[in-house]
Amino acid sequence: MADIEGLLHEVADAVISCKKEKVLEAVEKAKAEIPPEEIIEKGLSAGMNQVGVLFERGKLFLPHVMIAADAMTAGVKLLEEGMPAGTQEKKLGVIVNGTVEGDVHDIGKSIVSTMLQPAGFEVHDIGRDVPIRSFVEKAKETDADMIGTSALMTTTLQGQREVIELLKEEGLRSRIKVMVGGAPATQAWADKIGADCYAENASEAVAKAKELLL
């Protein structure tokens, strides 16, 4: 009997090594022995989670995270090729993510988007300095389950409240969750404006998105 644990470890390690060819090789090897869903969850996703941890510990850097995410996506695609139609991996949810109008800070929000994607979410990163209405329009267009709003200045925090207010006006608030983040945002602020959650960093954003959308 094949060493299932060993094969899954190999897939996860390949993701952590940030080498696409290695990931594809490991997935190819594993798929003969293990169901695709298990390879995705216990191999690819587990590896990507570890990449997130290493990023936050200053051991891996943004280019590595991007390469690992790309490699994981390629691995998932390879697995899906062999799966019957309709059984392909289902996205955990659709998330629109952006920095609110008046605020050009980009890095933190982009890292959150980068980490959400390989965690199984369909992410639409709409950039920085995004007009409030664009968050809601994009959410409608993509049938989003969640909107993530980032603000790095106390002056632009209000934009997060405005997104929530606009969702209410449009009658969408009950079906679209809202996550807030950024240096001046806090849990108290999230509670005050009626956001569904606040995340301190990228890995917390992934964990809280899973909590809310699964």
């Binding site: 200053g58 890095i107 849990q187 606040y198 301190e200």
Partner: protein
């Protein structure tokens, strides 16, 4: 029932904790720093001292007689005349008045002049105005007066600057292009800051304060270190303070090195020697406050990191203790009880040379 002490969450909210809980939070916060930075935990005596500081009965506490340190000021006079809804309190006043108020009314040990946008790049077109303001201030003041601004390398990327935004390039998996863009931006950052400070130093500035270094990641730090090195070579007597933006240098590029050391992923104790090597006189380490954690956790974590930085540094360390850093709650009006406790702990336990 055990006595409870009024303390704070990282967002400034008041909480009540028992001594037992305070001690366990301190141990956990210190342990977190030790784990991340691969540095020593606080000792039993230090933990006990920190707990004593946190549990002191007075609202405001202070260092013991003789342990005072210089308190330097960043953001220029923006905290007085700025009215952007954040750090400033919107008092209409000239920058000269602001600087002199810090010297004569507030008891500041050093002060700095800063531009309302507080970044080096936008100073370029108005540098003559800044030089004039510096000259007027220097002719009226006694305490050391710096010129301060943020390297803010993000201003060199689209849509604000000439180079393609690395975030956008990364999303398209154009990693090499993104890295090239960061390297070009760092070169321009170095060039601009050196040019601005050449002018300000000629106008009598005591020196420069690089505030929030590495806010845009490792290339931002690289550009700043290169600027420090050039300024030190050109002006051996310039006072140079290099303050950080966050506790760890974010690896946006990932491969940039200074003096043979990779910049990405460096923690405060690893950053300090590089600032000294480049030629800074004073290093300003930062530890971020986690708003979801208690003040004992945050302060213990910050003190652990800063103590290691102070020990590793060959130059004085002036810890950053503004809103949301150095154990200070993330609040525009941080509670006095939390600020003074953090202040005392940084001096008496971490051993900082200034704040």
């Amino acid at each position: 029932m055990a006595a409870e002490y009024a303390l704070r969450m990282g967002d400034g909210k008041r909480i009540y904790l028992t001594e037992e809980k305070i001690l366990s939070e301190i141990e956990a916060g210190s342990g977190n720093a030790a784990d991340l930075g691969e540095i020593p935990d606080l000792s039993v005596d230090e933990i006990d001292k920190l707990a004593q500081i946190l549990m002191m009965p007075g609202k405001a506490v202070s260092v013991e007689h003789g342990m005072e340190v210089p308190v330097t000021h960043d953001i220029g006079t923006i905290r007085l005349d700025g009215d952007q809804g954040n750090s400033g309190v919107g008092i209409p006043s000239s920058r000269l008045v602001g600087c002199m108020m810090h010297e004569r009314a507030f008891g500041a040990d050093t002060m700095e002049l800063g531009h309302i946008d507080y970044s080096f790049k936008p100073v370029k077109p108005v540098v003559a105005n800044e030089c004039q303001a510096m000259e007027v201030c220097q002719q009226n003041m006694i305490i050391p007066l710096f010129y301060g601004a943020m390297p803010n390398m993000g201003l060199y990327y689209t849509p604000d600057g000439p180079f393609e935004n690395p975030g956008d390039l990364m999303k398209m998996f154009k990693i090499d292009k993104a890295r090239e863009s960061m390297e070009h931006a760092a070169e321009h950052l170095t060039r601009d800051t050196v040019w601005v400070m050449q002018k300000l130093f000629a106008s009598g500035a005591d020196g420069v304060n690089f505030d929030t270094t590495a806010a845009a990641g490792d290339a931002d730090m690289y550009g700043t270190l290169c600027a420090v090195e050039i300024l030190r070579t050109q002006f051996p007597d310039m006072y140079i303070e290099m303050g950080m933006a966050g506790e760890m240098v974010l690896g946006m590029h990932g491969e940039l090195e200074y003096d043979g050391v990779r910049l990405a992923g460096l923690w405060p104790h690893e950053q300090a020697p590089l600032a000294a090597q480049a030629g800074a006189n004073v290093f300003g380490p930062v530890v971020n406050t986690n708003t979801s954690k208690t003040s004992p956790w945050n302060l213990a974590r910050a003190v652990t990191f800063i103590k290691a930085a102070v020990e590793a540094s060959s130059i004085p360390c002036h810890v950053n203790m503004g809103m949301g850093v150095g154990g200070i709650p993330m609040l525009e009006t941080p509670p006095v009880d939390a600020v003074t406790r953090a202040s005392k702990a940084m001096v008496e336990i971490a051993g900082v040379d200034g704040i």
